[in-house]
Structure formats: structure tokens, C-alpha cells
Amino acid sequence: MSKKILVVEDSSTMRSMIAAIIEEMDDFTVTEAGSGFEALKLLPTEKFDLIITDINMPDINGLEVVNFVKTHPNYKKIPLIIITTERSEEDRKKGIALGASEYITKPFKHDELQEVVRRVIG
């Protein structure tokens, strides 16, 4: 059975690139959320195996997505990968402290992302 990954990212280009990279790997299907709000709405609809979220988003930020998932009785077991940039080291540390399993820094290469995903839900 293929694993389900929720990608939370407000840039449509970035989102579809991540989706394309992940779907190159076998046995993964991607659901895309264009904002934190959208992610909150999608969470109860499917059972996700992994969430990949950007940090810098309007409405609610990625740290809040991590915190929400990790403190929610229904979702706290879902692992998360945060997408950060080289400038936001503080945010990355906070994300890991809140319970994110891994981070990946933009811009990243195909195999970098694939490797991180495999490491988390291999």
C-alpha cells in the first residue's frame, strides 16, 4: 500500500516540484495543501504517513503546523519534515524542538529530498 504524504507549501511551483520529486519514488502519493489552514482541513480527511511543511507561510506558520500535529491526540504520531532556508536557523531549531523529525534547506536537489523522506519513513 502506498504511503500518503501531505505537502504544506504556499508556493505552487515549490509544491508541484516537491510532489514530482516524491512521486518519482515508488509507493508514495502526495496531497497538496497551499496553506496551513488548508492542511488543518485536510488532516481529518485522510490518514497521512508524513507531513512536509514550509515554515514561512501566511495565515499560520509551519512551526504552528508542527506544534498542532504534535499536540493533537489524533495526529501526534505523524512524523514531520520542515522546509527551511539558510537564514532561518532559529526557526529550524524551534521546529526540531517542537517535534519535527528532519529538516531540508531550500534550494535542495531531487535526491536530497528523496533521501530525507526515506530516512523518516523508509
Binding site: S11, M14, I55, N56, D59, N67, S88, L98, P107
Partner: protein, 676 residues
């Protein structure tokens, strides 16, 4: 390349890049159109930052190096701006516009030729130069000492952290709004609350949590910053089903030995406004008014006791009782003074709210008039009696409005004159002894003294060849006749309603002065006493009636005989140290009948200042006394020349004279007589 152009991510990139540029342009325009373009809403800068940030990310993924490099450098600049490390200047705005144009060119190139090979080095070095400027030292705030759920701080991004600190630095109040929603509608519900909040403050963060019933609903905490208080926030959000809590600052390390360096450092770090959150009690002003009224009545009672004490001594001489009573009266006097001062201190509030209101108004007006004005504020922490602040608001609004409308020139004019194209209005306040000095200074056109004189001649206010000093000429602007002149509005714009401004300020026992330099600007200097209600007065008798004159409008009093009075141009005057001083018989002013129509000797109380001095003729001087001015009822309020009423020690109610109005009236009558 041809293959790449057909890629889905490639097409997606072009589409999104165009969208981002549109968002950036829109925000730049909003910033440019708002008059306070050098201090835009933080959301504007953040939106531009976010756009550039996303563009950098996706261009990097696609391998467009020039776009990545430019947006990366630009992102550095925008990040410094949004984090308060770089001040927005006209140069920065210019670079922002140029960069947006360049990014658009680069993306057009990508969509046309599949590459971004355009030289961007000049623009890059411009941005790098801006970034070289030293960052401003930002105040350090201990967010951990906020009465905030520790989990909230854990999820704030660096930027949100900064916004929270910035709100604290600017003295805003922080609130936590908690609300539960259904999973289906929470986004719409939240947007509604967001738009309500953005009307009076800033949403710093929106924090979701699973809440009580995780399967059907979701709970949100919003942290907001606003200048408004809890009552206001509650009233605005009363329709929404939310819980509101004010986040206070809890000072730790409270018990450090006085004088230690550590404490001093601590004191320097915590801004006064934040400190006040934990150290103050909010009291309704009505309660303070009630207390002050009681003190006022006590002051009157004290006067009764002093009165009795004096009488007793007159009757009994230095008897035991007379001495005891005198001692008791003196102690009462001293303690009452202390109580009064203490209460006055409690009523003092900082001027920052009023200054904020003035700034908002000035920005709105300058937007409407299409002028670019930088409004600067100094000394907004200076305190003034709460009531005084309300009373001085209108005169200040008037002066600021004049400065925007008529003081500051249009951008084109300023450029033509070689001035900075951005005009400046400086609002400042300082305490000097028992007074507060508020200044409104603009770097506009100044007042054309010659034109003022010409108009005064035209209007018959002064004789054709009268020699006036500059100060006397400026004083003419406060003449009522002057203000209505349209010509003046066009020429200097300074005459409009200034007589009313001065009248209002004099009612507060304040003064107003103008300093002006043609083409360089004008400064209005307002001096106000710290408190309003209780003042020293000279008590005078006119015929059978007694009046009180605020002592600060009295410069001296003298005794004259009827032979000292001369008549010049049908007007009674006396000679006072080689100057002619017009006199006003108060019994005439109030249509009273004097007992003795022509007494041999009488008193003259000299009031007013500068060339607006006048002598009030009274029958007797009864001494000085502290009085509490109370407003007179509506029926009497229309009477010219009366500022209010007060009770004296012998429980007699007397009228307090409005010195300024009486001077005005007398000058007007004189003019009419001369004309007639």
C-alpha cells in the same frame, strides 16, 4: 532549453513568478500612496519580503541564478527592514522599485528565451551599499517575562518574535484571543476576526490547537498588539464568541539591591510603558474627579478655618486657643497641600496618546493634500493632567492642521526652493518646572511678516506707518478680525482661527508664542501649567461684588487717584512707567452701579502681557487665595468675561473673571468707537 520550456514546473514557475511580482508591486504602491510611506504597516514589508523569499526559493530550484542572486540580496535587505535592523528611506524605496522592474525583466527573459542572462550588477551593488549602513540598535525585551503561555513563544518564527518585541517597544497592549470553531468554517470565521483586529491593531500570530473536542472542532489563539485597551478590544470583538485576555509584563528580579549596576542596566532595558503594565492600577477618571472635588471642598474648609483663626486672634489676641487654632490651621494647610499634590500626580498621564492622535490626523491630512510629510515625535512620555490633555487637544489639532495645510509647501515647491522634498513636522513636549511646554515646529514656508503688517493696515487694525516689532506683528495673528481674512489664508495661512486657539489656551492658564523665519518654518510654543483645577487668585471687590482673578494673569496692582486717569481718544488711560495703559472699569464691564461714582482713590490691577496689557479698576484688593474653579451653570455660561465660579472661605460664591475675554472685549469696543 526548448524542452525545459514545456516542462510543467517551468510553466508553473513563470505563472507564479508573475503572480509574486504583482503582489510585490501592489504592496509597493500601497506603501507609496500612504502618506507615512517611510513607516508603512509591518504587513506591507512582510508581504514584499515573503514574495521575494518565495521567488528566491523557486528560482533557486529551477537554476535561474541571476533571479536567485538578485532576490537573495533583496531578501537580505527586506529581512533587515522587517526585523527593524534597517530604516526605510527614500533611497531604499527607489531601490525596491528598480529591483521589481529588474525582476520583471528577468522573468520576461526567462519566458521568452528560457534564460535570465541580464546584467544586474549595478542594482546588486546598490542594495549591498544600503546593507552596509550600520544597523540600528534594537531594544532588548525579555519575552519570557510576558505572562504568555510558554508554548506560544515556542512556535513564533523569528519575524513574529520581532513583531511582538516591536509592539512592546512601542508601548502597545498585547492581548490573547481564544476562540473555538468547527473544522468546516474555521478559516472564514478566523478571517472575520482578523479583519476586525486589523482595524485597530496587528495580528502577531495565529496559533491552532486541538482544543477540548479534537474530532469536531479546532481552537485558535491569536496574539494581537494594539494601542487600544481591554475595554475597547472587548467591545469590538463582542459579537464574536471569543475569550480575551490581556498579556501583562511580569518583572522578575524585582528585589535587587538599590544602586547595583545590574539594576541600572535592568531599568534601562525595560521601557517605561512596559513597566507600567505591571506597576500601575487603572482608575476611572471620574473617581479621581470625585476625590479632587473633595480636596477642593477641603481647601475651602481650610480657608474657613484660617478665617476663623484670624478673627479669633483679632478678638482674643495671642490666647491659648488662638495659638492652638492657628497651629492646627497651618498643619492642615501643609497636609492639604501634600494631598493635593499627590492627587494631581495621580491624574498625570503621558502625552503619547494625544501625540498619536495628532500624528494620525496629520498623516491623513497630508495624504489628502498630496504633500509628503515626515512627522516626528519627541518627549511623548511627558505627563500632563488628564483633563488638560483633553482641553489642549483641539488647539493642538488646529495648529497641526495649519502646519500641514499652509506651513509645509508642496513637493514641487520644496524642490524648487532647494529644500528636502519631504517636509517635517516636529511635535515635542518637555516639562519645565511647574509647566509643560509643547512645541509644534514645521520646516515649511514660515510667516511673511510684511504681508501680515500690510493686511493689518488694510483691515484697520494698525495705523499705516505704525512701527511694529516682529513680535508685535506676529501677535496680530491672534486678533479675531484677522482670522476671517481669506487673503491671509492664501498668503500665510496662519491667521485662521488662531484667536480661538489662544482663547482656549488662556482658559487653561496657558500661553502661546510663535517663532517664525520666512522660508525656513514656524514653531508654535504652548506653555501649560501642570494642573488645571486649583489655582491662586487675587480677590478683588468692585462695588458690592467680589471677583477672583487668576494670579498668573496679573502682573501688578497699584493704587491711583482719580487725577491719574486721563482720556485719550475717548478712552480712559493711565501712565504706567512712561507707557500708556488703557483701563477698564469692571463696574462698567458688568453694568454694575458703583456705590461711590467717583471715589478719590482706587486700585488698578494690571493684567495681560505684551502689548495687550490693560488695567482693571477695582474698589479694593482683598488678598490672594487658592481657589477651585467650578463651571457655572448653562444659564450663566454665555456671559462674556466670566470663566467660572468659586467659593471663598466665608462660603460666599464669587465669579472668576476670564481675563483674556475681558481684554478682547475692551479692545473690540475701543476699535468700534474709533471707527464710529
Amino acid at each position: 532549453m526548448e524542452d525545459k520550456k514545456k516542462d510543467e514546473p517551468y510553466l508553473e514557475f513563470i505563472a507564479e513568478a508573475e503572480e509574486i511580482l504583482e503582489v510585490i508591486s501592489k504592496n509597493l504602491l500601497t506603501m507609496e500612496e500612504s502618506q507615512d510611506r517611510l513607516s508603512p504597516h509591518p504587513d506591507i514589508i512582510n508581504a514584499i519580503f515573503r514574495g521575494v523569499h518565495t521567488l528566491k526559493g523557486i528560482a533557486g530550484m529551477m537554476g535561474f541564478n541571476n533571479i536567485t542572486e538578485l532576490s537573495h540580496t533583496l531578501e537580505n535587505m527586506l529581512d533587515a527592514m522587517r526585523m527593524g535592523k534597517l530604516t526605510l528611506t527614500s533611497v531604499v524605496i527607489k531601490v525596491l522599485f528598480e529591483s521589481t522592474d529588474m525582476l520583471r525583466k528577468l522573468i520576461e527573459n526567462v519566458s521568452k528565451d528560457g534564460n535570465d542572462n541580464i546584467d544586474t550588477s549595478r542594482l546588486l551593488s546598490d542594495i549591498v551599499n544600503i546593507l552596509k549602513k550600520k544597523p540600528e540598535a534594537a531594544a532588548v525585551h525579555k519575552l519570557e517575562e510576558l505572562d504568555l503561555d510558554a508554548n506560544v513563544l515556542k512556535v513564533l518564527t523569528e519575524y513574529e518574535n520581532h513583531r511582538l518585541e516591536e509592539n512592546l517597544r512601542l508601548g502597545a497592549n498585547i492581548f490573547e484571543i481564544t476562540a473555538g470553531f468547527s473544522l468546516e468554517t474555521f478559516d472564514k470565521d478566523l478571517n472575520q476576526i482578523n479583519s476586525m483586529v486589523s482595524g485597530f491593531g496587528e495580528v502577531i500570530t495565529t496559533l491552532p490547537s486541538s482544543g477540548a473536542s479534537p474530532d469536531i472542532g479546532i481552537e485558535f489563539k491569536l496574539i494581537i498588539g494594539t494601542k487600544e485597551d481591554l475595554n475597547y478590544v472587548t467591545s469590538i470583538l463582542s459579537g464574536a464568541n471569543v475569550k480575551i485576555r490581556e498579556i501583562k509584563y511580569q518583572r522578575k528580579n524585582e528585589k535587587i539591591k538599590p544602586g547595583s549596576e545590574h539594576e541600572e542596566a535592568q531599568a534601562a532595558e525595560s521601557p517605561s510603558s512596559v513597566k507600567s503594565l505591571s506597576m500601575t492600577v487603572r482608575v476611572n477618571i471620574n473617581r479621581l474627579d470625585r476625590l479632587l472635588n473633595i480636596v477642593g471642598e477641603l481647601v475651602l474648609n481650610k480657608a474657613v478655618i484660617t478665617h476663623i483663626s484670624k478673627n479669633l486672634r483679632a478678638i482674643e489676641g495671642y490666647s491659648e486657643w488662638a495659638i492652638e487654632l492657628e497651629k492646627a490651621a497651618r498643619t492642615l494647610d501643609k497636609k492639604l497641600n501634600e494631598l493635593q499634590e499627590g492627587l494631581m500626580e495621580v491624574r498625570m498621564v503621558p502625552l503619547n496618546n494625544l501625540f498619536d492622535r495628532l500624528t494620525r490626523m496629520a498623516r491623513k491630512l497630508s495624504r489628502e493634500s498630496g504633500k509628503i510629510i515626515d512627522i516626528r515625535i519627541f518627549g511623548e512620555e511627558t505627563e500632563l493632567d488628564r483633563l488638560m490633555i483633553e482641553e489642549v487637544a483641539d488647539p493642538l489639532m488646529h495648529i497641526v492642521r495649519n502646519a500641514v495645510d499652509h506651513g509645509i509647501e508642496t513637493q514641487e515647491e520644496r524642490i524648487k526652493l532647494g529644500k528636502n522634498e519631504i517636509g517635517t513636522i516636529k511635535l515635542s513636549a518637555t516639562q519645565k518646572g511647574g509647566h509643560v511646554v509643547i512645541e509644534v515646529a514645521d520646516d515649511g514656508s514660515g510667516i511673511n511678516i510684511k504681508r501680515v503688517k500690510d493686511i493689518a493696515v488694510e483691515k484697520g487694525l494698525i495705523a499705516l506707518n505704525s512701527s511694529l516689532t516682529e513680535k508685535e506683528a506676529i501677535d496680530l495673528l491672534f486678533t479675531p478680525g484677522f482670522s476671517t481674512s481669506k487673503v491671509v489664508t492664501e498668503v500665510s495661512g496662519r491667521g485662521v482661527g488662531l484667536d480661538v486657539v489662544r482663547k482656549n489656551l488662556i482658559k487653561l492658564n496657558g500661553t502661546i508664542d510663535i517663532e517664525t523665519k520666512e522660508k525656513a518654518g514656524t514653531k508654535f510654543i504652548i506653555t501649560l501649567p501642570l494642573t488645571l483645577m486649583i489655582l491662586k487668585a487675587l480677590i478683588v471687590q468692585v462695588a458690592d461684588d467680589i471677583f477672583a482673578l487668576p494670579i498668573n494673569s496679573v502682573s501688578e496692582s497699584l493704587m491711583i487717584t482719580k487725577r491719574d486717569i486721563q482720556t485719550v481718544e475717548r478712552r480712559e488711560v493711565i501712565q504706567l512707567r512712561e507707557r500708556t495703559l488703557p483701563i477698564l472699569r469692571l463696574e462698567d464691564a458688568f453694568d454694575m452701579k458703583s456705590k461711590d461714582v467717583n471715589p478719590d482713590s482706587m486700585y488698578v490691577v494690571v493684567v495681560g502681557s505684551g502689548n495687550r496689557k490693560i488695567g482693571f479698576v477695582v474698589d479694593a484688593l482683598l488678598g490672594q487665595q487658592e481657589i477651585v474653579i467650578k463651571s457655572i451653570g448653562k444659564i450663566l455660561s454665555g456671559i462674556q468675561g466670566v470663566a467660572g465660579a468659586t467659593e471663598l472661605g466665608n462660603r460666599k460664591t464669587v465669579l472668576v473673571l476670564d481675563v483674556a475675554a475681558l481684554i478682547e472685549e475692551s479692545v473690540q469696543e475701543y476699535k468700534e468707537e474709533v471707527k464710529g
